[in-house]
Each structure stands twice: as C-alpha cells, then as structure tokens.
C-alpha cells in the first residue's frame, strides 16, 4: 500500500543513540531509513542475528487452495513474483473449518486512509459472527497515525491488536515496544508451529522478518510480497507498438535516448519523456543509497557512475525530448499527460499498474495500454539489476498483556484473515456478505451502497492478509502485462546493502542522509537547470557538512556491528 514511501527515521532517545541497533526488519531499499530500536534497554533485545532469527522464522507452506492463472515464479533468494488471477473465483473455497474464535472480546486499531466506517455497522457484526469473537475495530486516521499511536504507548494502553506501519518504526519505537508492550509470538509460530495456522504459513518466511526483533517474532506481516521494487520506467505500449517499437528493443540508455528523438513531435505537443531519474539511475549499477566498494561503505553520491547517470539525464533534459511541463516540475498532471499521449515514457511506482489506471487510460483513448521497459544496464552489457524492497511494510502486533489462550485465539482469527485471495474467508474480509455488501456483476464482486459505506475502507486486512496477488477483474490485459513484466524481471531483483535492516540514527545523521541540498541540485540537473559539475559541488559540500561523518557513523554503528543484511 505505502510501498516505496520515503520517510525519515527520527531517533527516539537521542542520549542513547550510539546503542541504536540495526535490526532485521522491513523496508530498507525503498525507504531510506527506518528505525530499529534505541535506548539502552533495547540494545541487546532487538538485534537480530542471522542464526538466531533463522530458528525463530516460521516455516513456509504455500497455499494450494486456489490455482492462479499465472503462478508465482522464483527469482533469487526471497524473491518471487506475485501470482496473477484473471477472474474472481465463482465459488470461493473455504480454507478455515468452523469458527476460529471462542467468544473472546478484543479491540483493534488500524490506520485508515479514507472515511471511517460507523462503529457496530453491519459488516463488523457479520465479521464478528464469522470470526467467533467480538472484535471492536477502531480505525484511526492514517495521516495522523504517527501522532495517535505514541499517546497510547506512552500511557501503556495499546489495544489488543494494532497495526504499526514499519516506516514509522522509529516514531513508535517498535524495537523497545517489542520487549515490553508487544507480545512475543515466537512460541506460537516459530518453525513448524505455524502449521497450526495454514494461512499464516502461506506467507513467505522473508515477510516475517519485518516484524522480528531481537531474534523473536512479534509482528504479523500484511500485504506481503516477494516482488517489491521502487518502480519502473513506463511507456505507452499502444503508441510505441503502433510505431513498431517493442520493449525488448530497449537494452541500453542509448536506445532510450534514440527513442527520444524518434517519439518527440513538439509541434504536435508530444514529447517522449517525463521524469525517469528515480527509477532509471539504478541502470548505472547504482544502489538506492549505499554500496560496498572494496570492503568499504560508500554512499551512491561518491560513486563515479553516479556522475555518468546524471550526465545522461542532463543530456536528456537539454535535448528537447522531455515534456516542458515536466521540466517545469509539474508532477501533478503527469498522469493526464500520459493518458493524453503527450508524454510517452515516464517513471513511476508499480502501484500505477492497476485496474483504475487502465480505466482512466481507456477513457482517454480506447487503445490505451501501459507497458514498462525491462530493467536494463546503461551500457547494455552485463546483468541488469534493481534493488529489492522489503517484503512488507504493514505489520500488526498483539498486546503483551494477552494471556496465551487469548493469543492463540487471535492467531486463529489472523489465520482466517490471511486466507488466500479468492477464498471464502478472503471474500468475507474484503467484500462482506453477498447480497448485503456486494453483488456479483459479470462475476466480479461489486460493492453495494452498504458495502461502499462500511467495507470498502480496508480495515481487517491491516490485521492480517494473504500475500499480494495481481488481480484486476475486468482488466485482463493489466494482469497479463504486469505478471509478464514481473516474470521477465524477477531475476534482476537483488538485495541492496542493509536490506531488511531498520536503521535509527541521530538527527544530524538523518539530515545528512536526507541530503536535501544534494537532492535538490540533482533534480535541477535532471531537469537541465544545473550542470553535473554543480551537483559535484553540492556533493562536496554535503561530504564536508555531514556526509563523511554519516558514512563513518554507518560503518561503525551498522556495518561493523550487524553486517550488510544481504
């Protein structure tokens, strides 16, 4: 959901920042920094070690409940494509027998980006009946979630079940909460124990790491995926193919540049390119942030290839192949330009490749088809690589005050909620009751007014949900194209330095890490307003005003203590 979102780790207890631990848990690549834990108490408790964590991780037993149209395909370790489904199953299979709960009463808090459904609505009631518990859902505004949760933790009044998005790990100090206020799930889920909860066992092991602290399991990963990338370079497939251009013809940065010449027709108001930097610079074999060069930690700013990448983008911007509105920094209308065929190639998050995009595009042009270029290397030689993000960034936790029997009851509920895509339980948790909350239209579950009011705003899946699938009922071409793209690129995904490690740093380091002045100059450079030498100057000033100190700090406090996480 919020994959690829940038955020800033804020050191929680600055006095003890030197003990800040890097801990194996979610989101490293896509998010520059996240927290782990800080504070002396957490120093020993929240660090994960490779061997210790391995013992705690649950077994992975893939679900066979439903056969996808496009099965998941493995890439490297912990990498696999999301399975694709063309249609929604007509007769959802049941994966949980009986009612999971035993009548307990619990409260749950989840972030919600949307309108909060009324308490005690018909959907909540139906879910309680299906789950066999009284689960009082208290969705809280996602935009202010980072300020809502600390008041609960400060008063030690967490609900029984809560979702803590990993990009706020540092705000919430999850590393420390894991030792005190959040329940240790290791005794219930480690290794083969998870097989008692087959739907939870169908969540790949890698995803469980994002909720692991101090070699113990605390969090239940939601919306997990084995294919997490920051984004890709999209193109108007319908338009390019009408000119006889296919994606496999683009193998290098030079190929792309010549596309710029071929596709730009300024007189007709058509330009080849929008912004591509964020998802393209990796082609110069650059990491998102850090690399190991001759055993030493190096920031991407200091790699020679970084200047090559900038140089190419500067040329692109000054060549006249980029849309003038893009150069003017108008991002808000980039989608409109793409739909209108005024801008044919643009970078973006993979969240763009969905049914809603297809519907918007087709509304503008019936032939609309989104495509993405494969991951390339700039010179067209060698193996293309792209950095992999963490497997999940939405983690739910149980309260440490719960009794073992209560934890088991809630894990059974989680098992229900994690039922695979298309199952009866999944349909219930995501669409509600047929005839009340949704009806089938051409086989596709479609919300009724009651459903729109109370079910559409996602609540239960923030407590537990199955691994992500690609499914766009009514837009088969999207599912086919996206699954094909994932399959073609799954081998390119590589774990970046500090993968799955959450790093909490003091404010000065976070400031240096954000490198705002450098990033600003980079943006001016790929918009053709600043030369590469200006960026070099900005980098030099960044190095002396905190950058070098940051690299040293990362080396001493993260690399030398906990390794690269790869």
């Amino acid at each position: 959901m919020e994959k690829g979102r940038r955020h800033m780790g804020i050191e929680l207890n600055r006095r003890h920042f030197l003990s800040a631990a890097a801990s194996v848990a979610g989101l490293a690549a896509a998010a520059p920094l996240l927290s782990a834990c800080s504070g002396s108490a957490s120093q020993t408790s929240t660090v994960n070690t490779a061997s210790g964590l391995q013992a705690a991780l649950p077994a992975y037993v893939p679900s066979t409940a439903l056969k996808p149209d496009f099965p998941s395909m493995a890439g490297g370790p912990d990498v696999m494509t999301d399975p694709g489904f063309l249609s929604y199953p007509a007769n959802p299979v049941t994966t949980v027998s009986g009612v999971p709960g035993r009548g307990g009463s619990y409260t749950a808090v989840t972030p919600l980006w949307g309108t909060v459904p009324t308490a005690g609505n018909s959907f909540y009631e139906a879910m309680n009946k299906a789950l066999g518990v009284t689960l009082t859902m208290k969705p809280a505004d996602g935009n202010n979630y980072n300020t809502i949760v600390p008041t609960m933790t400060a008063a030690r009044q967490l609900p029984d079940w809560i979702n803590l998005p990993s990009w706020w790990n540092s705000n919430f100090n999850v590393g420390e909460l894991a030792g005190s206020q959040l329940a240790d799930l290791t005794p219930y889920l480690a290794g083969d124990k998870i097989k008692k909860y087959p739907n939870l066992a169908a969540i790949p092991s890698a995803a469980w790491r994002v909720g692991a602290w101090g070699d113990k399991l605390y969090g239940i990963p939601c919306f997990s995926s084995g294919f997490v990338v920051a984004g890709g370079t999209f193109y108007r497939r319908d338009i390019l193919e009408s000119k006889g251009i296919t994606a496999d013809q683009v193998r290098s940065a030079e190929d792309l540049m010549s596309l710029g010449k071929e596709l730009t027709d300024a007189k007709r108001g058509v330009w080849a390119f929008g912004d591509v930097w964020t998802y393209m610079f990796g082609a110069w074999n650059l990491p998102f942030k850090w690399a190991i060069d001759n055993g030493k930690l190096v920031n991407k700013y200091e790699l020679p290839a970084f200047l090559d990448a900038l140089d190419w983008h500067y040329k692109l911007a000054t060549s006249g192949y980029m849309h003038p509105d893009t150069l003017a920094g108008d991002n808000a209308n980039s989608g409109t330009r793409f739909y209108a065929g005024k801008e044919l190639i643009q970078g973006g998050g993979m969240g763009a490749w969905v049914l809603a995009d297809y519907q918007s595009g087709v509304a503008a042009n019936p032939n609309y088809r989104r495509g993405a270029f494969n991951v390339i290397t700039a010179d067209g030689k060698g193996t293309p690589r792209t950095s992999m993000g963490a497997s999940s960034s939405m983690i739910s936790y149980l309260n440490a005050n719960l009794k073992p029997a209560q934890i088991e009851e809630l894990l059974s509920v989680a098992n229900y909620l994690a039922a695979p895509y298309g199952s009866a339980e999944y349909t219930m948790a995501n669409f509600g009751v047929e005839g009340v909350h949704y009806t089938r239209q051409n086989g596709v579950p479609t919300f009724t007014d009651e459903g729109k009011k109370n079910v559409q705003a996602t609540t239960f899946p923030f407590l537990a949900s199955p691994r992500s699938v690609i499914s766009n009922p009514g837009g088969d071409v999207v599912t086919k194209d996206y699954t094909a793209w994932q399959t073609a690129n799954v081998k390119s995904l590589t774990k970046p330095v500090f993968w799955n490690m959450n790093i909490s740093m003091p404010q000065w380091a976070a400031t240096a890490d954000a490198g705002q002045a450098v990033e600003d100059t980079i943006k001016d450079c790929y918009h053709g307003k600043k030369k590469v030498s200006d960026v070099q100057a900005a980098i030099a000033s960044w190095k002396s005003s905190g950058g070098d100190r940051l690299t040293q700090w990362m080396t001493d406090n993260v690399l030398n203590k906990y390794g690269t996480g790869q």
Binding site: L12, G269, P324, A517
Partner: protein, 311 residues
C-alpha cells in the same frame, strides 16, 4: 484610540467597561482567534533553542541554546534564500506597489458606475484563485507546452521559456503577483479616494486647475496617509514574499533561485524532520521583520504620518 476629550473628567475603568461592554463583547471572538492561533503557537518557538524531538515533546527535548542559530548563520543555503527573499521583495516593491494605486486612480476617473463595477470585479477575481490555479493558468498559457509556445512552435518561431528561466524569475513571480493580487489591493486605495472631499476638486477646477494639477495637489496628498501605511506594512513584511508561489515553481527554476526564507524553513527544517532548525530560521526571520516594521514606522512618524498607529 482614546475617546476622552479634553475638559471632560476621565471616566473610571469600570464605567468605561460598562459603557463599552457590547463593543468589547463583539471583539471577543476575534481576540480569541488571535490568541489561539497566533499567540499560543508562539510557545513553539522554544523548540528553536532545543534539539526538538516530536516524540518526547517540548518538555523533554534537549536544550542546545543558540546552536541552531550558529548552524543557521553558517549555512550558505540560508543566506542564499535570504538574498533571494530581499531581492524579490525589492522587485515587488518597485514594480508591484505602484500598480494598485495607479489602478485605483484610473478606476476612480471612470465615470460610468456600471463599467467601474465591472472592471473592478474582473480585476478582483484572481485574488480568490489559489496559487496552484494561478500558476497552472500561467503554465497553460506561457509554459513550454502552453498556448503561446505551441503557437510559436507551429510557426517555426523560437520558443519563449519564461516559466523556467531562472534569470527572469523575479519578473515572472512579480507579474503573477500583480495578476493575482493587484485588483484586491486597490480596495483600500479606492476607499481612501472616496474619502477625499469632492468640494476640493470643484474649487480647484473653478480656479482653473487641470487634471494633473488636481491629481498632484488633491488626490495624492489625500492618499498619502494610506500609501505610507501600506508601505510600512510592506516593509515589515519584506521577508515574507509568499510561500506557495515559490513552493510550486521551485522545480521549474531550481531551488537556488526560488528558495525564499519560508521555503527554506520548510525544506531544510520540516521536510527533513529537523524541526528545531526550521523553527530557528522562522524565529530569525520574525526578529528581522519586527525590526523592519519598527524602523519603517519610526520613519513614517518622522515624516509626520500616522504609520501603524498615531503617536
């Protein structure tokens, strides 16, 4: 604004309170708003002297004294945005400030009331547009893919990249400000014009004074108080040239051209979680603004004008 006149015994505080109570009551909501949204947040200025951490709050954040300010004054980007702010402010003062006065004089000389109201409504309207909308209109008209440049392009004439040219950025933003705000700013001048005694014009005309003489000897002196007041306010706000306008166009011309003090606080303070740094930049700006407004007011008094208040 005292109402006691010479020779009358000064009323006691209680009597005056009773006499003015309905007026005082009417000001309560406005004062409450001011207290809640302008004075209470002043408390947050404390963070400028701290290494503020939102999680532990103001009470438990570490005190660092003047560290933030020391860092700020050594930051070249801060000085860059200060210079930008002052430069833009100067350009706006020279180019923008006279326009509403001229517009007000012009409108005042239009005899047809219908026409005057119509023109006035038209020039008012852009004030109610947000900056996002205003800049979008500019981008659609003058942008690289806008109406003008597409026309030039189709006729094989070179394009005019005014929207992305850092060298003419000050002129661009001033024209945008004129387009959007000039109509609104004339209100106060029109009010001042309406207050000028028309007998004076008639008498002057009878004495044979022409249009220009009447303007010079009656209209402008009549407007002087208001003009000086607006000038004082403008000078006091010299370090506030706007925020959204620059935020939106920052990527179009580059950060070193478009960054003003307010966007500096935002990007290098708030956006990177460096709240104390942003607060320090904001406080620094406020102190300079206070000095400026104080100085301008003194100057107004020296010239025998009221300035912000009557001495």
């Amino acid at each position: 604004m005292t109402t006691t006149s010479v020779g009358r015994p000064r009323l006691s505080w209680l009597v005056r309170l009773r006499r003015d109570r309905s007026l005082l009551l009417m000001t309560v909501p406005a004062v409450a708003l001011l207290v809640v949204f302008n004075y209470v947040p002043l408390f947050g200025l404390l963070t400028a002297f701290q290494d503020y951490d939102p999680l532990v709050g103001v009470w438990h954040s570490d005190w660092v004294g003047l560290d933030q300010f020391r860092q700020l004054l050594g930051d070249p980007l801060f000085w860059e945005s200060t210079v930008n702010t002052l430069y833009l402010s100067f350009v706006q003062l020279v180019l923008f400030f006279p326009i509403p006065i001229a517009l007000a004089l012009l409108l005042n000389s239009v005899l047809s009331e219908r026409l005057r109201n119509f023109v006035q409504s038209v020039v008012y309207l852009p004030h109610f547009f947000s900056w996002v909308l205003a800049i979008t209109v500019f981008q659609q008209m003058l942008g690289g893919a806008g109406v003008l440049n597409q026309f030039l392009r189709t006729h094989d004439i070179g394009t005019w990249d005014i929207m992305t040219n850092p060298h003419t950025f000050a002129l661009l933003v001033t024209s945008q400000a004129i387009w959007k705000e000039a109509g609104w700013s004339i209100i106060v001048f029109l009010a001042a014009l309406a207050a000028i005694n028309t007998d004076l014009y008639e008498a002057a005309a009878a004495d044979g004074a022409g249009r220009w003489r009447r303007l010079w000897h009656i209209t402008l002196p009549g407007l002087r108080g208001v003009i000086v007041l607006m000038l004082v306010l403008r000078l006091g706000n010299a370090l506030s040239v706007g925020f959204e306008q620059f935020l939106i166009q920052r990527d179009a011309v580059g950060h070193d051209t478009a960054d003003v003090l307010d966007t500096f606080s935002f990007y290098y303070g708030i956006a990177t979680g460096n709240y104390s740094y942003g607060a320090a930049a904001g406080l620094f700006k406020s102190i300079i603004s206070l000095l400026l407004i104080w100085g301008a007011n003194r100057l107004a008094h020296a010239f025998g004008e009221d300035g912000l208040y009557r001495r």
